[in-house]
């Protein structure tokens, strides 16, 4: 469709410009300028993003501490090189990757399960899927506060439930052993519905024939699921997974609201670490280098994502 579009606009352009009058010529140049004029604001926003981005890349090559302006200077890749032997950096790397991997795995499993549960468009199922929008539309920072109240060791309802199960003194986010579990729980609460919605839309858009044929032949349901449903749903699953992976590796709101990266450095994910480097230790260079490392990871992932996305767009809108 994109192709036919451009052909058509070229054809109208040709039709417009063939009578060689000055009015037509003016309209023609106006028509050429129009898209650029219209997209100017978007272009400005792009520049507004790109300037700070390159500034950050530049800062990452500098010794730059706000409290020691005299020390400012260009040090090439020293910030990055120092990461290699820095235990705090590797802690950040490992906790961020763990967080992303665990949340996305759990959310994918739950999301797919719930989508399958609600796949038939009955009134009840639709009502349930609408109710599940609520956690997704709750601000993650506020969701973390809600769970903080529920896991308060003095009166939290979840602490009470857990104590009924025999775990006395279960300290949730304040205990290094259970802190990750607690923030993962909040993340799962907020974002599982996102995966569920995508997969539900995917499931409902699948063609009916293969399933009818399988039912007619009496094919076992596990076979239908693994050999028909899952492969056909794969594009949606990949989209949802990559989308969540990209967000999850950058998680800030939930972790910061819940524990500010603590207890100790247990939850020092990338963005929390960079935030503290910048505002607590005023080490701009190190903070910027940390963000560039995270950007490189997300860039690699998002390239995968965009390539895949374009394929889907093509299928939806016709070949480009």
């Amino acid at each position: 469709m994109a192709l036919s579009d451009s052909v058509r606009s070229n054809m109208t352009l040709a039709a417009k410009s063939s009578p060689q009058t000055s009015a037509a010529a003016r309209r023609w140049s106006m028509r050429r300028a129009l898209p650029y004029l219209l997209s100017l604001p978007a272009l400005l926003v792009c520049i507004g993003i790109l300037i700070p981005f390159f500034t950050a890349a530049y800062y990452s090559l500098m010794r730059f501490r706000l409290n020691l302006p005299m020390m400012k200077g260009f040090i090439w890749f020293d910030n990055y090189i120092s990461f290699l032997s820095d235990a705090a950096f590797w802690n950040t790397m490992s906790i961020s990757l763990t967080y992303a991997f665990v949340t996305v795995t759990v959310e994918l499993a739950f999301g797919l399960g719930i989508a399958l549960l609600l796949v038939r468009p009955t009134r009840l199922n639709n009502a349930v899927s609408i109710m599940l929008l609520l956690p997704l539309m709750t601000a993650p920072a506020l969701a973390a506060l809600m769970w903080k109240l529920m896991t308060n060791p003095n009166f939290g309802i979840l602490s009470y439930f857990v104590s009924l199960l025999g775990f006395d003194d279960f300290r949730w986010a304040s205990d290094p052993r259970t802190a990750l579990l607690t923030v993962v729980l909040v993340d799962v609460w907020v974002y599982t519905p996102f995966i569920m919605i995508l997969l539900l839309a995917g499931l409902r858009s699948l063609p009916k024939q293969p399933f009818e044929a399988a039912a007619l032949d009496g094919v076992p349901r596990s076979f239908v699921f693994f050999r028909i449903t899952l492969p056909m749903l794969m594009p949606y699953i990949i989209t949802a997974t990559l989308f969540r992976l990209l967000d999850s590796i950058q998680q800030f709101d939930i972790v910061y609201s819940m524990t500010q990266g603590g207890p100790g450095d247990r939850l020092m994910v990338f963005q929390v670490q960079a935030y503290l480097e910048f505002f607590q230790y005023t080490n701009v260079g190190r903070s910027a280098a940390l963000m560039i490392v995270l950007w490189a990871i997300t860039y690699a992932l998002s390239n995968l994502f965009i390539k895949h996305w374009l394929k889907l767009r093509e299928r939806a809108h016709g070949p480009a």
Binding site: P35, P41, I51, L133, M137, L142, L149, L294, W295, S302
Partner: protein
């Protein structure tokens, strides 16, 4: 699929109840807490039967918190007003800038358009702090730190890409033939755009605007870095409130309820648009 056994029906029913319990219980419980005083909250075992009180909400509305150590001023209503102002203005600005650009991207194929679309798309996934930290230094130089204008401008980073991509998809799905016919009848480009294209794409624009509003409202990190207390929206304000008030759990719960209610009501009201926007924005572009 149609001849489901009773066993399966019951299993499905139980699973659905469990799912609803997990996802709705936190909201329900915080709502209950917001109507309790501290004695009722601290009671063990917790109980659903209690005499509801409005004191938490009145404390927030009047801005006066009575504590053992004396009265404490809370500016929570101000945070709520800030959220409303920031999100509304950000979305309106985004619509004004984004809808024409989305139209240009959909109708005219030009190199710059593709480049802009890709830059915005690839930065949709970049870590926000990467852009925010240098921006906070620039804002200091420009005098934009802690101003509504600066925040609304930065909020475009959330709203504009969302609106561009969703609305562009809608424009692409509408055949340009009607607009072309209207143009041939002698109407200007602007009239074809405003009289034909926009009304046809209205569902898409509504979906994008709603999503953008909710994402702007729910944003935390932008205001945390660029705004001080007087300009902060609820997401940052609530966290500050928790730190400041310490043990006023009822008021904290009430503040959370007030902060999430607008987006949740919007979500319920516009759920059809929302689901469409979410799946379009993610899957189709």
């Amino acid at each position: 699929m149609d001849q489901t056994s009773t066993f399966e029906k019951i299993t499905r029913g139980i699973l659905i109840v469990l799912v609803l319990l997990f996802f709705l219980f936190p909201i329900f419980w915080i709502l209950l807490m917001s109507f309790q005083n501290n004695d009722q909250i601290l009671r063990i075992p917790p109980s659903i039967a209690f005499e509801p009180t409005l004191q938490n909400y009145t404390a927030l509305l009047t801005g006066k918190l009575e504590t053992a150590a004396g009265d404490l001023d809370i500016a929570f209503m101000r945070n709520l007003g800030n959220s409303l102002l920031l999100s509304t203005c950000a979305v309106l600005l985004s619509l004004a800038l984004g809808v024409p650009a989305a139209y240009a991207f959909a109708r005219f194929k030009f190199r710059l358009g593709e480049n802009i679309a890709f830059t915005l798309l690839s930065f949709r996934f970049a870590p926000p702090l990467l852009v925010l930290l240098p921006l906070s230094l620039y804002f200091k130089q420009l005098g934009l730190t802690d101003t509504y204008v600066g925040l609304i401008w930065v909020y475009q980073l959330i709203c504009l890409p969302l609106i561009l991509w969703i609305v562009r998809g809608y424009f692409e799905d509408i055949s340009p033939d009607i607009e072309n016919a209207y143009r041939i009848a002698g109407h200007s480009w602007w009239r074809a755009f405003s009289r034909i294209a926009i009304p046809l794409a209205r569902p898409g624009i509504a979906a994008a605007a709603l999503l953008a509003f909710i994402f702007a409202w729910n944003n935390f990190i932008f205001a945390l870095i660029l705004a001080s207390a007087s300009k902060q929206p609820v997401t940052v304000g609530a966290l500050a409130f928790v730190t400041a008030s310490g043990i006023q759990y009822g008021q904290i719960a009430a503040a959370i309820v007030l902060s999430v209610t607008p987006t949740l009501l919007l979500a319920l009201y516009a759920q059809r648009y929302l689901v469409e926007g979410l799946s379009l924005g993610a899957v189709k572009g």
